[in-house]
């Protein structure tokens, strides 16, 4: 029996087609994971593979990422593709800080993740010493399939987030004096030489 009271919502039990019940978490995460806008930070050959991933053969648009954002202020995912020289470290840090929350970081390739073969005076030994990283994609450079795998991993990670989790998406605050966000001893430990590079410290007398 229809009522004229505008304050009441009337539900017709016979016509439930227009109604979906879901968790708010799921709805928000579904929307976020389906429209991740990447900020490409390409510095080397990994960026070539990233371009291939974005182009029609591998078609990043299938994952809702076709809109590459060349401004960090409209981006969700920072994809760091390639080696990062120390001179670029403050630039990468600032770009990350300019991105609005929620934001994620994919470290693409061996150099961005660990410094790779460039265990020398000029290259950052893994961008996780500058900014927090969510997904590491190994490879030198990774094939587009590998990057897509990393993106799907990131989407799964986004789908598992809970809105009530206060630990998530808190802006990192680097130490005001050193500008580091993890302890220096940890950085030294992380960037110890390994493999062949332990033999590369010698210099002329």
């Amino acid at each position: 029996m229809p009522t004229n009271d505008a304050r009441l919502v009337t539900v017709d039990p016979a016509a439930q087609d227009g109604w979906v019940a879901t968790r708010l978490d799921f709805l928000v995460n579904w929307a976020r994971a389906g429209s991740l806008w990447p900020m490409p930070f390409g510095t080397a050959c990994c960026a070539i593979e990233f371009m291939a991933t974005a182009a029609s053969r591998f078609d990043l648009a299938r994952f809702g990422m076709e809109r590459l954002s060349y401004s960090p202020r409209q981006a969700d995912v920072l994809i760091c593709a390639g080696r990062v020289p120390l001179k670029l470290a403050p630039v990468l840090r600032r770009i990350y800080q300019q991105m609005p929350q929620p934001k994620w970081v994919i470290s693409m390739g061996a150099c961005a993740s660990t410094g790779g073969m460039f265990d020398n005076y000029a290259v950052v030994q893994g961008i996780d010493t500058i900014i927090p990283v969510d997904v590491y994609v190994p490879g030198c450079p990774p094939r587009p399939e590998a990057l897509i795998h990393g993106i799907i991993m990131l989407q799964k990670k986004v789908m598992q987030e809970r809105l009530k989790d206060r630990e998530l998406h808190v802006e990192m605050e680097p130490d005001p004096t050193s500008q580091l966000y993890i302890p220096p001893s940890r950085i030294d430990e992380l960037s110890e030489p390994f493999g062949n590079s332990v033999h590369q410290t010698r210099s002329a007398p």
């Binding site: 403050p90 600032r94 000029a122 500008q179 950085i187 030294d188």
Partner: protein, 248 residues
Amino acid sequence: MTAPSDATALAPILSAAVAEDSNGSPITPGLIAHRGGPVNGTADTLAVQFGEAVLRTEVVWGETTVYLRADMLHAAVRWLHDTPSERYDYLVDITAVEYRDADRPLEVVWHLRALQRRRFLRLKVELVKRQPLVVDSIIDIYSGADWLERECYDMFGIRFDGHPDLRRILMWDTYREGFPLRKDFPLRGRFSRAEQLKQALAADPEARYSVNELSIAEAFDSLPEDMKRRIAARDETARDNAAAEFDA
């Protein structure tokens, strides 16, 4: 720019400079000796012109290297550039070589090319280590020497006397670990990774930006607020003080 009369005057020089096949196409010379062979004629004229300032001449892989005394380098390059019969109009590169033998002097290398005459000349100046590494800048002769000399300074610590803006170009301005391509420089640098990162993050990527340098003077009003603030707050004197402190 090249007048027809000029081109005809050049013809005998060009024909002498380049071997040609029967169709007139240049032939890439083969069987070049590692050491010795025809010397670039400029080496002899340089020796006549500058006498004792020319220390010796080498030919390696068909390319002539002239060793000069450091104090005569600028005059020699000026002469090579200005003399009509030489006309070395293209500065290809400036670099330096340090050998593992600690007693061997450090060499600064200039690559010159005379494009119309198709000649290549390499100049070298030897700088004894443990003495100030200084040579004359040739930026007043070749403007392109600007960044080449800055790179040479950045990597080897060789100072180019007369360069108007001699500062680091590849490493950042406040880099304090030394000169990376010197043999006494460890591959990973002198500081710990954390210290390197700390110093790198403390560097201001916009330290040398100015409105003029960016060519954004007319667009200044449309810049984002924070960038406008940073550029406006940049104090010229503070920056000069920092540079002076670094030089000291």
